[in-house]
Amino acid sequence: MSARLTYLRPRSPSLIAGGVLIGVVVLIALVSFVWTPHDPYRVEATSRLLGPGSEFWLGTDKFGRDLLSRLMVGARTTLFVGIVAVGVAAVLGTPLGILAGMSRGWLGSFVMRGNDLVLAFPALLLAIMFGAVFGASTLTAMVAIGVATVPAFARIVRAGTLQVMSTEYVLAARAAGRRRLGIAVRHVLPNVVGLIIVQASVAFAIAILAEAGLSFLGFGTAPPVPSWGRMLQESQELLTSNPLLAVWPGTAIALAVLGFNLFGDGLRDAYDPKLVQR
């Protein structure tokens, strides 16, 4: 990708579709702060395993809790996990990538070797290890997913940085008297922001999937806080009698992942001059 990926040109359908899906998830999560149809934590022996109806729109789980409310609060968990994981990855990965891209010599290659090493610990493995050490919780899952995603950011930012550093405007900036830090902040960072956003969108989708997998293994969000992965895991024992318990969270995960992937694809297409010119 080139340093020219700065301005958004024609909006692709996937950008719009992705944006809409993400928007819906975010909206649901925000609404859940002020309103849910029912208390998502309230256990009620008398309303167990109800199908969709007028009171419980999507039905209830085996604790008699409202599935819609839990799904809404689950959106919060999902977004939270994604934001923190992607945040960790971007905050650590971006400076590392810029550092690796700007310093020749041993420092740059040291950073990249370390990066490759982290790459050998995939998110799920790291999360299981983190979970074993610090206890399974949303936090450990998020941090583990984030750390495992650092290399992806560092790599892409480094590639972008190398590209920016080879441009004449960096040479011009040096000739104008800019120091390294100034170049990093004023020229490199703004020009790799596009890459970071694209990567973040894709990483978000991966984080959602990783969290679901972890919750499924029992290394993710602790009950009774709902997360989509956890709801899916809880639904498993009742899959044959109450398949809807799995359908709702499964669909939610798929749509959210789809949203972020489409959005990332759309952004990439919009940013990539090669694709645009065709």
Partner: protein, 314 residues
């Protein structure tokens, strides 16, 4: 080229060495004393101390580390705190199972992804390309374990076509082996196929835009033959990197799928080890997984060199 390979090999070995340190350090901070866990409730302090001495966990960490690395090199991986058995053979046993699963799903993924991805690229403005694209997006969005759960519910429980889980080694009963392999490999492979297909699409699209493909057509090749003769090999170069990264994802994805399908592979060994605080076992399994990932990436790099003459002869 020799230099490049040597350099890459050195990096590979150094990465493994660094990984051993990381893994060991990580496990050293794991709460739960293995001796205490093995002895269970109300163990006497003396008994715990005695067992620590037996395990060697009372020695300085550096000694323990060196001892462990030594056992990795000899392949026995040390003796488990819990089973009191050599870890190496167990790991190898489970690794074989996981490898069957992973390799089968990888092959499945490639067999699906290459033609599908190519069609997606060639017909990227057409209806079939869009339809396949949408399908692949969906394939990526559905987690492998969900696909697994649904496959079990439908193909095993509802239709009774295939077993719902379990494992038969191939040498014991090949038919049963295949039956047990189909669903998990498909659950794992199809999601990967979806991801891979998108990379194939991008790579082929890139190649389609290359000047040399236009040259090939200027020579008189039809677009299809031009792509076949000049495009696919060049497209294979970026795809091979992704393939390497994917194999790593698959190894780890297998952990979840093994749980769904009750397959005695590395994943279940790892999870059991974590639950039982079988430290050495966990260390061993994590190391095997990490080395597998490093090895795959190393091999991909070598393959890369073989595919791209610019790297081979520069």
């Amino acid at each position: 080229m020799v230099l490049r390979l040597l350099k890459r090999t050195a990096v590979f070995v150094a990465s493994i060495a660094a990984a051993t340190i990381v893994v060991f350090a990580f496990m050293a901070v794991l709460p739960g004393d293995p001796a205490e866990v093995a002895l269970g409730v109300n163990a006497t302090p003396e008994a715990v101390a005695a067992l620590r001495a037996e395990f060697g966990t009372d020695r300085p960490p550096v000694v323990q580390y060196l001892d462990w690395v030594g056992s990795l090199v000899t392949g026995d991986f040390g003796i488990s705190y819990v089973t009191r058995d050599l870890i190496g053979p167990q790991v190898v046993d489970r690794l074989l199972v996981t490898l069957w699963l992973v390799v089968t799903s990888m092959v499945l993924a490639v067999l699906i992804a290459v033609p599908v991805g190519t069609v997606m690229a060639v017909r990227h403005r057409g209806l079939s390309g869009l339809a396949l694209s949408a399908l692949s997006q969906l394939g990526i969005a559905v987690p492998a374990f969900l696909a697994g759960i649904l496959a079990v519910a439908f193909f095993a429980v509802r239709l009774g076509w295939l077993p719902s889980g379990g494992w038969t080694p191939p040498n014991q009963d090949p038919v049963s082996f295949v039956q047990h392999l189909i669903l998990p490999a498909a659950a794992l492979g199809i999601a990967q196929a979806a991801v891979l297909a998108r990379y194939v699409r991008t790579a082929v699209l890139d190649v389609l835009r290359e000047d040399y493909l236009r040259t090939a057509r200027a020579k008189g090749l039809t677009p299809y033959r031009a792509l076949l003769r000049h495009g696919l090999r060049n497209a294979a170069i970026p795809v091979s990197t992704v393939l390497g990264l994917q194999l790593a994802t698959l190894l780890v994805g297998a952990i979840v799928v093994e749980r769904v399908f009750v397959i005695p592979g590395l994943g279940s060994l790892l999870l059991d080890g974590v639950a039982n605080r079988d430290l050495l076992l966990v260390q061993g399994v994590v190391m095997v997984l990490v080395v597998a990932v490093l090895l795959v990436n190393y091999l991909v790099d070598v393959l890369y060199t073989a595919l791209d003459p610019r790297l081979r002869t520069s």
